[in-house]
């Protein structure tokens, strides 16, 4: 499984010059502000636009090679595209929308696979409806199913949540997470929302002004001290890949374990053994030289300082490692100087339980 993309495109003042590889199934977020070139990239992969220069290779099949004059028409590319505005065919039922690409696919998935996708996306009861009668979230799910059933080799998602209100986002997120966890194909997920990316992406490509600024796993990129320079704004914070270990209903706490430690958070509903993600915002992490006694915070995590960076206006961002897992703390420059923090120091990261939770997408904007 591999996707190789190299694109050069110029449109008025905007210059796109990117190069990246995707080597595994799952969600790779194309993350960046509006105008960073995200949509141009996926449009070039889909064949909706032809860039001035570049090459797109999916699983050793050359879809585009401008120099060699290769430009496979969109209908032969086997690239699934989930548009922001769904673009369901209004004259067809949900069933016929779902089967539109499936019927035309050269390598058709089996009927049982069609059923599996319908169940995975919770579309069983919508099949005879027309798109006009669906809610925004339902439309997105149908669009997702329609793209998947055309047996694509890569799936492109153009801000599928951006047009939805908070409640609808919450409705479709579990489906996207399931899609990611069951993923058998690479997905490029365009987003300008750090919360969405934190919750959904396996890997992140950070775009800035038409260039790749950072690329890596979600855990690495979100704890990268350079990230605020690229995103320009909070919320900034590390994401932890955790497993639900224990519920302490009487204390109102749940114990989550991660590679390198454990963390207590407010009581969760998820069953024991569930894998999920929690975000620890940089502003919510304190650093202590010595393990504090008698402190209200539930989490005092031994950590090693992995890096420091001064951030405007007078802050200092500190990258901490608890085993292999990274955290970031944003403290004042004064505190950093008072504690004389430097790389390699052993310290304690103090995290209040009440500040930790899943990346909260539904409450955004």
């Amino acid at each position: 499984m591999s996707v190789k993309v190299a694109l050069g495109h110029r449109y008025r003042d905007f210059v796109l010059d990117v190069r990246f590889h995707i080597e595994r199934p799952g969600i790779t977020a194309l993350f960046g502000p509006s105008g960073a070139g995200k949509t141009t990239i996926i449009n070039a992969i889909a064949g909706v636009v032809t860039p001035n220069a570049g090459r797109v290779v999916v699983n050793d099949r050359v879809l585009l090679d401008v120099q060699a004059g290769v430009d496979v028409p969109p209908r032969y590319r086997r690239v699934g595209y989930v548009f922001q505005d769904s673009r369901l065919f209004p004259n067809m039922t949900v069933r016929n929308n779902l089967r539109f690409g499936w019927r035309r696919a050269k390598q058709q998935v089996s009927e049982s696979e069609v059923e599996r996708v319908i169940v995975m996306l919770g579309l069983e009861r919508l099949l005879s409806r027309k798109p006009a009668t669906l809610s925004g979230g339902e439309k997105s799910r149908v669009a997702l199913g329609r793209a998947l059933l055309a047996s694509p080799e890569i799936l492109l998602l153009d801000e599928p949540l951006a047009a939805l209100d908070a409640a609808r986002k919450g409705e479709i997120l579990p489906y996207l997470e399931r899609l990611r966890d069951e993923a058998r194909l690479p997905m490029l997920y365009v987003s300008h929302s750090l919360d969405e990316v934190s919750r959904l992406a396996d890997d992140i490509i950070v775009l800035r002004a038409g260039k790749v600024a950072r690329q890596g796993t979600v855990f690495d990129v979100l704890s990268d001290l350079g990230l605020p320079d690229f995103t320009g704004s909070p919320p900034y914070g590390a994401v932890l890949d955790v497993e639900v270990q224990e519920h302490r209903a009487r204390d109102g706490l749940s114990l989550l374990s991660f590679d390198g430690g454990q963390i207590l958070v407010p009581l969760m509903q998820s069953p024991i053994g569930t894998r999920l993600r929690v975000r620890v915002r940089a502003e919510d992490v304190m650093i202590a030289r010595e393990a504090p006694q008698a402190i209200s915070a539930n989490n005092v995590l031994p950590a090693v300082i992995d890096g420091l960076q001064e951030t405007a206006p007078l802050h200092s961002d500190v990258r901490l490692k608890c085993g292999p897992t990274a955290l970031v703390a944003r403290i004042t420059r004064a505190s950093s100087e008072r504690l004389a923090l430097k790389r390699g120091d052993s310290v304690y990261a103090i995290v209040k339980s009440v500040t930790v939770g899943p990346p909260n997408i539904a409450s955004e904007h």
């Binding site: 673009r87 065919f89 209004p90």
Partner: protein, 230 residues
């Protein structure tokens, strides 16, 4: 209202026949022309656009005359058709249908074109990515989505065709039972002493038909707007 006389009935039925044939024969060509014009530009598009719209601005008499020049029995094309295929348009109701179809062609093209344009290119791009070729998209997406526009265009063209006078009388003359449609019958009645009552009856009939056609076309147009979300 007194009952229609036999020649009046004849004129009415002939009008309906001529218009029905005119509109249905022109429809496939209108669909193609509309699809061509609705898509992105090509070299010479303004010229094609202009030619297709000519019948709207040209005096119908001129159209009739041009048809005579091309399709008259001694004209190059008309002579050939008569000699080899036995087809004669002049002095025949088929000629009336041809003239009507030509004159009302722009009504159909315009209605279908705006219906296609209203569906936007987005759906077509989505369909292409799902493996649909151009003909596939035209049949399964463009035509169904433009259907209300197609119906509206056909109804408008039909109603306009019922009123065609100048091109018909110039091209195929005014022969009772063959080319004397409603407007020609009204004209003939007015030329006959004492024919005012007949002219009034036929005019009232024309008015009612035109009104009905426009109401139906408006209804179809509304439907177009509700089916195709913007």
């Amino acid at each position: 209202m007194p009952a229609l006389t036999a020649p009046e009935w004849e004129a009415l039925l002939l009008s309906l026949k001529v218009s029905a044939v005119a509109v249905s024969c022109a429809l496939p060509f209108a669909l193609l022309a509309a699809a061509l014009l609705a898509n992105r530009g090509f070299f010479g598009k303004p010229l094609v656009d202009g030619i297709l719209h000519m019948p709207l601005v040209l005096p119908p008499v001129v159209i009739g005359y041009l048809l005579l020049l091309v399709l008259g029995t001694r004209a190059p094309v008309g002579g050939w058709l008569l000699q080899h295929l036995g087809i004669r348009f002049v002095f025949s109701w088929t000629g009336a249908a041809l003239a009507s179809g030509l004159i009302t062609f722009p009504f159909q093209v315009r209605a279908i074109r705006s219906a296609i344009e209203a569906t936007g290119g987005g759906l077509s791009i989505a369909a292409e990515g799902l493996g649909a070729g151009p003909l596939d998209r035209f049949i399964n997406l463009t035509v169904p989505l433009a259907l209300p526009g197609i119906v509206a265009g056909a109804i408008t063209a039909f109603a306009a065709s019922l009123g065609e006078f100048g091109a018909i009388i110039t091209f195929v003359s005014n022969i009772p039972g063959e080319t004397r449609t409603l407007p020609l019958a009204i004209y003939s009645a007015l030329q006959t002493p004492g024919g005012e009552a007949e002219a009034a009856r036929l005019s009232a009939l024309s008015l009612a038909l035109a009104l009905l056609g426009l109401v139906l076309a408006e209804f179809a147009d509304r439907r177009a707007r509700t089916i195709v979300p913007r």
